[in-house]
Structures are given as C-alpha cells and as structure tokens.
C-alpha cells in the first residue's frame, strides 16, 4: 500500500467509509436474489421487496460514494493508484445501473422483468469487480512499486 499521511480528518473519513460502504452492497445482493425468486415464481412480495432494497441501497450509497470521490480525486498526498481509480469508475457505473434499475422496478408486476433481473445482476458484477480488481496480485504489485 502507498504511504499516506494520516490526518485526523482523513482517518475519520476512512472509518466512516468502512462502516457505510458495505451497506448498499448488501442491499443490492438482496435485490438480485429477490428478483431471481420473483422472475421464477411471480410472487409479488419479492419484486416489491427488491424495489425497496434498490431504493434504500441507493440512499445508503450517497455518503460512502462522496467520501470515495474525495479520497480518489483529492488525495491528501502522493499519486493516485490506478486500482483506486478503476474502483471509483466501476462503482459509479454500478450506481448508474442501480438508478436505472430503481426506475425499471417502478413498473407494475412482471413489467419489471426481465430487465430488472439483468440490471440487478449487472450492478453486482460491477461492484464485485470494483472490489476484486484492486486485490489482484499485479495491482498490488504496481501499487508497491
């Protein structure tokens, strides 16, 4: 990892980020599961629950995304890591997919399918990539260099 000068402010932001960032991820995983159940069963409970998960997940995503924006674009010191940059853009795309998905989920009943299921899947793929890419050996190696 690159060496950072830890100011009290940036440390607080990092803690807040660590607490908040997993919340939308969990909500979106839940939405994907519920969409898959609805697509197969037609039981209304699941699509309504998925619509709430996406909407609330988006609300919870606002703060951690803003913190991440400041961390990536206005680093306290030193160069930005390429992996951090990729993570930022992948997360942004995931949010765009989730926003579109919130609108798709406002359709009545099976009108939300199959697009709703695809978008829930796409959101998760993007979020998983954003978590996996920085952890890959070459990314870590490049960061150390």
């Amino acid at each position: 990892m690159r060496q950072e000068v830890k100011t009290p402010r940036s440390q607080a932001a990092a803690v807040a980020f660590g607490v908040l960032d997993p919340i939308p991820y969990g909500f979106f995983v839940g939405a994907l599961l519920f969409d898959a159940i609805y697509a197969n069963s037609g039981e209304i409970l699941w699509i309504k629950a998925a619509a709430w998960l996406i909407a609330i997940g988006l609300l919870f995503a606002v703060l951690p995304r803003l913190i991440n924006l400041v961390q990536v674009w206005f680093p306290a010191r030193g160069r930005r890591a390429a992996a951090e940059m990729a993570g930022f853009w992948l997360n942004l795309l995931a949010i765009a997919a989730a926003i579109t998905n919130a609108f798709v989920h406002s359709r009545d009943a099976y009108g939300a399918m199959p697009e709703g299921l695809w978008l829930s899947g796409l959101t998760i793929v993007l979020l998983v990539l954003a978590k996996v890419l920085p952890a890959l050996p070459q990314a870590t190696a490049r960061d150390r260099a």
Binding site: G42, E43, I44, L45, K48, A51, W52, A55, M85, W89, L92, L93, A96, I99, T100, A102, F103, V104, H105, S106, R107, D108, A109, Y110, G111, M113, E115
Partner: protein, 437 residues
Amino acid sequence: MNRNSGTTLIAVACVVALTACGEHAQLDPRTQMGKDPELPKPQNFLVPPMQVPTGVGWQGDAHPAVADGLSIEKIAGGLIHPRQLLALPNGDVLVVESNGPGTEAVTTPKQLIAGMVKGRSGKAAKGGNRITLLRKQAETGKWEPHVLLEHLHSPFGIQWIDRALYVADTDRIMKYRFEPGQLQIADPGTELADLPSTVNHHWTKSMVASRDGTKLYVGVGSNSNIAENGLEVEYRRAAVLEVDVATGASRVFASGLRNPTGLQWEPQTGTLWAIVNERDEIGADLVPDYLTSVKEGGFYGWPYSYYGQHVDPRVKEQRPDLVAKAIKPDYAIASHVAPLGLLFYTGSSLPGSYRGGAFIGEHGSWDRSPLSGYKVSFVRFVNGRPTGPVESVVTGFYSKDESSLYGAPVGLAQGADGALLIADDVGNAVWSVNASK
C-alpha cells in the same frame, strides 16, 4: 478528462435522458373512439407519461363551456368533493360527497412518489362522507342545500327503490328508510350486503337498480393497475356484482372489467351498460377506456388482455384460456379519459339529438400528455347501439396551457325537469345544463 470518464459521462447522460422521456401521445384521440380503436404497440417506460394540472377551482363567476344550443348554471357550490348525483321524482337532487378511504398501504417506493404528484390536481382532497339534498325554492329559483345523511364510509353509488335509499359505501351497501320529500334521514340504516373492501386501490362502488327493483348491480374496481398487488386481492373485484335486494345475497355477474365506475340501463333495449377505466403505464395511447354492454357471465379481459385478445405481458402467470374467451368491448372512448359518470338521456328538455344517447363524465387523465378527458361527452345511440364519434358537450375544465384545473366532472344525473346535472369534485360544485333559451 480521460477516456474512461468520457464513457461514464455518456452512460450517466443516457440514464438521465431515459428517465426524462415521458413519452408524448402520438395518436389523435379520434382514432381511438368507436368500435375499432387504433391500438399501438405497448411500451415499457422508466417513467410513465405523466401530466397533472394543479387544482385551483373556479374563480368568481367562471364556469365550464357548453356546446351550441345549451346553457350552464351552477346550482350548488362549496360542497366537499361531490362525486355522484341522484335525482328524485319530486325534483330534489341528492349529492354524494366522498373520496377514497385512504386505507391502501404504501408498499412500493413508487407509491410514495406517485401519490404526491397525483395529489396536486385536487382530486385527492378529503371527501365529505355525507349526502346533501338540494331543493329548488319555487319563489327564488335558487337551490337550497340540506345535509341528508352524514358519517358515511366513502359512499359512491346511490339508488332509491320503494321507500328506501340504498347507499354503496366502499365496504357495504346500506339501506335507509326514506321517502322523497324528507330533508333528513333519522334511520340509522341496516346493512344489506358487504362489498369487497380490502386494500381499496379502486374504492368506488357504482350501483344501479334493476328496473323492477329486485336487484342491485354494483361495479367493483380492481385492487391494482395490472395485478401488481397479487391476484389474491382481486377476489370478486374488477367485476359487476349482482345483489338481491330482498336477501342481500350476491354473485359475480360479469368480470374482467378493470374499473366499472358507472352502470346504467340502455333505454331502448333494457340491457346493462358500463363505463370502464382501462389499464395504465404502457403508453399515452393505451389502453382506451370504454363503454360496453355487460353480458351475464361475460369476461372482458382484465388483467390478462385488453380489447379482446391483446395480451398484457405484465401478468405472471399468463392465462391463455381466459384470454381466448375475453369479450371485446363495444365502444372505445379514447385513452386515459377516466370516465366516472354515465347517463342515458331520456328527457325532452335538451335538444332532441341527445335523446336516447349516453352522456359520460370524464374525470381526466394523469397518464397522458397532452391531457385528455376533463369534459362531459356524448355518444349517440341508434337502435340500442353506440354510433359515430364521441362528442364534447361540456368543456373548459382546465386552462389553455393545461397547467391549472378548475373542475373535473364525475357523476351525472337527469333532473326531474330534464336538465343534465354534473357533479364536479375539483370545483366542489353541481352544474345544471339546459337548452339555451
């Protein structure tokens, strides 16, 4: 800016553009009137077409405009959301002041937001839950209001049969002893029959008595736009129920009618006709609301299909067996006009061309841009069948720029003197239309 961020900006712009494109209507409403309406391909939206004018009421002496040969007069104002009218043989007019019970739970994020947008028009204002009697003073010619009955539960349909007034609250039909001439009802009333009242997405219970007074026909709307609350809450809904006046026993008379808000007898053939509000959110030009004869045991498509065999893919599971037997309605009256009042005119004081035809109170659209409905229209009948286009009779309910709403017509009645009476639940008034002198 690097290549990556450019791509992202494009992606974000696409999302914004998609959400902003609440599609405008493409078809002239006249192509969606009559026996064979033009039906475009259904569309899926991110945001359905929406346009809701702001309810402001009638300022000063302002009033709706009427067709040639007619005049209009306000006979009552200051009412609390008047919805339905019943003219009594002695000349008195009963006004049902009501609105939805507001019991539908918010179960989706969309309901939270849509409720706020639609409420702007004033259509969601609280109802009086009472019936006001209007009596014309012989000396002054003015109509005097008297509160006839209070503390009702979202009443809508109202009928008078042989010394009793039947009121269709949202959850039951109540029977009150009542003779025309009374100014107040002291009878606490008895329950004749219960009506479907879970959720109450569509809460109005329209009602008409058979000619011999032995049966009541009740229009019960669906509990959803297109089954998005689950099919289990649609039991005995989107249907016309037949209730026995002597016993209160009831059965489903016809089904698949999404929201049958007005029931009347066609005077020449004596058959039952209904106005029906069709489904939303698959296009500004879909699906046209309609006027149809109601056949005993008939299935009219909702939710599985519309206009016969046009399948709605939003329902899971699909029912091809029911789609196959869906009856195509008789007469389309254009998309999203929201018909809430029906009256076959049998009087002789309006110009003769109106005799035997159907007046329709069109409450007006939210799911269409430009606006449609917000008028009282007329459909001519020849030999018991509707014919020709829908004619506009009473208009001018919204401002030219479509931003302000002065009034919205709902229930209609034929006064003892032959006038066309109109309940207006945004202007909180009752209008009387006569032949111009």
